[in-house]
Subunit: 318 residues, 3 copies
């Protein structure tokens, strides 16, 4: 694997899921693989799970880890090409990347959508600079439009929770929120599920359809009850409008996931990438109930990251 | 040891002091004991000594260390049970703890008193959630009402500095400050000293008596001069009113510890947990004088933490 | 080497450059040298290159690394001797240093000029407290008046890029900026270049002459074009006025380095310590052009740090 920023960087999805599950069985089986190599974890945004799971995964592989909270610990970054830097920005992202090239064997970066310019976000204005200027493999720790390490963990979690001899019905359901939230997790989940042997349905209110480039031929249903019927897995996630970018069109029905809504499902397992706003996105009873596999999902972030780092190291060592 | 949040978690105080002193002699004697295990150090508040000494102690034991400055690096936490999270808080502490359960073999947390609600603080509104939801051993790096790793370091330091064949007189003296400060260090010191073979006296102005649950039968004297007489050890620390919670009733006498006040003592050794406000809590001449064993006390924070981590690992490895 | 805060701490400059280049060939050649020892990296200011290169260098030597963002993670520091600490400051720098003495075998500190009091900055009001109170070797990660790890990296980089049998002409040129910037990099480069076998010229506008204590007998030319003529190396850096401390006297000519200005040079290599304000200090075309050795310079920060840490360890182990 040469880089990891979307599902298209994965050669064989079933193989990497299998590898991740082997790592879960024995996390220290490749504890020397990263010896003498350095991974830089660059955070332009907050992180709990991604931060800790990436650090654990790297340590399990014997990698040196450099963690940088770029905004707080280093310099205010300029992202515009050709900028005359006579304002608040102190260092151009290009130069920061070129320096990371000198210091790291792998660069991993978290760069959320700004939610101001649709064009900037759709074009991955920050991640694209890493892809362009990095001379070492780049790993996304969530970018403007995708969160692939989360999606791989989601695949692993579904794999672990599905033994039946038929395709599970997987429903990605929009959930309420109080602020305009990015589309990355929703997009990415849609994209990865289309590579899995599942029946994917997306449900969201009118005005909240995701970017068609990610959902392609996936069925989108605007009636949550209808969509949840017979679901085997429900993935709960908020996002703001894509068409009217970052807007929050009024929603009249209550889209919060509750135990009541689980009744029509096939005892669906409930998933969420976390952090979750309890009693807004889903109820306490769902979060703390036996249908939730949310913490298992969080744990699998370690093995998702470790499988990816391991495949990147294969490339570097080859 | 299954957890470490107060003196009652210690089975045998003299044994753990002895162990800490052995570690001080040879800090790397158990350098493989934590191999393949991970300790999460979660800071909800500032820290210098606790941060660094815990990191050193963990490294000396071969533990992987994850340090998280929760507020700045991760998400704004919700602490209220059943909250409808439609405000500023992004992640419930319960969920953060459940995720830490997935990532860590030991969780250590610093969660100061909020100093707003007496009830919340007395009930350890944050630490109690860790004790309730953590599925791995929990270590307090100072909570609302106690600072046990500090108190153990204090015990070690007194042990090192007392060879005489009689009980030392130990005086915990209130000191001036400009802000309402928590009771944790005072409470904890009182609690631990009652388990040590010492004569403990507490002195503070009227209105500043500590919570009786921590001081029990300890003599409290409101005249500092009288209390300090013949002291062998003086522990200097400010706290705000407990009865009139977090208030700062006027104090007319000057309670700052000075060399003049040391004259009536038995060449008392002076202790303080740091950070200290010089020339407010105690004078420069005391801080920099030969009676101070304050930096030795700071050093012993390493061995206090390491002895505790080591006993927790014994439990995990058994 | 007993400490490293200026070029005068280096016994033999050519030897340490040679050592750094050997380390560059084989960074893990002394991977056990620091085993069981701890270096504390204390940041009172922002850092990208210094932070990461110091961490890498320390890891390459097997040192334990403690990184402390003092202001954000620990306590607000008091720097004034004898202060009555009844204001915003919570811990005296003296006490923080004494605690670091207990925890670290080496203390490295970044403490920029405050740019408010010339006297404080010239007297190194912060670094001097480390030099006075530290009981272990002190390394400067940039102080008020010097940036020696940068200067050593600069020497290494010039060495790598000069094979001719004559002294290179090295020009330190002032560059425009929008804020009053410290003199440390300029001072330090001047000081170190005087120990190298080069012809050093400094060029800056009237009113921007550096402190004579650093530039001594170096030729200072106020006409940039004249200074750059036949240059083999150009070091670009802004600084504010030293005489009228931290002022920014008006400059009429355009001092930004451009390709046009490189024409009169001997195909000069361009250097900068980074971060750089593109199209203010130098143009995009220079930064991204083939004359720039700026990223190589950034990489050499690792080997500069590692050579210094290694020599300090020699002293500790002797």
């Amino acid at each position: 694997m040469k880089k990891f920023t979307s599902v298209s960087d994965v050669e064989n999805l079933q193989e990497i899921i299998k590898k991740a599950l082997q790592i879960k069985e024995n996390p220290l089986s490749e504890s020397e693989k990263g010896k003498g190599k350095t991974i830089g974890l660059v955070f332009l945004n907050s992180s709990l799970r991604t931060r800790l799971s990436s650090q654990i995964a790297a340590q399990n592989l014997g990698l040196n880890v450099l963690t940088l909270n770029a905004a707080q610990e280093a310099w205010n970054l300029e992202f515009a090409d050709g900028a005359v830097m006579n304002g608040d920005t102190v260092e151009h992202i290009k130069d920061a990347i070129e320096v990371l090239n000198q210091y790291c064997d792998i660069i991993a970066v978290r760069c959320f959508a700004g939610m101001k310019s649709k064009e900037d976000d759709v074009n991955e204005s920050i991640l694209s600079q890493f892809e362009q200027h990095a001379k070492v493999p780049v790993i996304s720790l969530e970018s403007a439009t995708r969160h692939p390490l989360q999606s791989l963990a989601d695949c692993i979690t579904i794999k672990e929770n599905w033994q039946e001899n038929r395709k599970p019905k997987v429903v990605l359901t929009w959930a309420p929120h109080i602020k305009p939230i990015a589309h990355a997790v929703g997009n990415s989940f849609a994209e990865w599920m289309q590579e899995m042997d599942v029946d994917l349905v997306i449900t969201n209110p009118e005005g909240y359809d995701l970017d068609k480039n990610f959902t392609k031929n996936v069925k989108v249903i605007h009636d949550q009850d209808e969509a949840l019927k017979d679901a085997d897995f429900i993935y709960v996630k908020n996002w703001s409008s894509f068409d009217d970018y970052a807007a929050m069109p009024e929603v009249k029905e209550n889209w919060m996931l509750t135990n009541e809504k689980l009744k029509n499902t096939n005892q669906a397992k409930v998933m969420h990438c976390l952090p979750v706003r309890r009693n807004v996105e889903l109820s306490d009873e769902v979060m703390d109930g036996e249908n939730s596999i949310i913490y298992q999902q969080a744990k699998n972030r370690i093995f998702s990251a470790q499988a990816v780092f391991s495949e990147i190291l294969d490339e570097l060592n080859s």
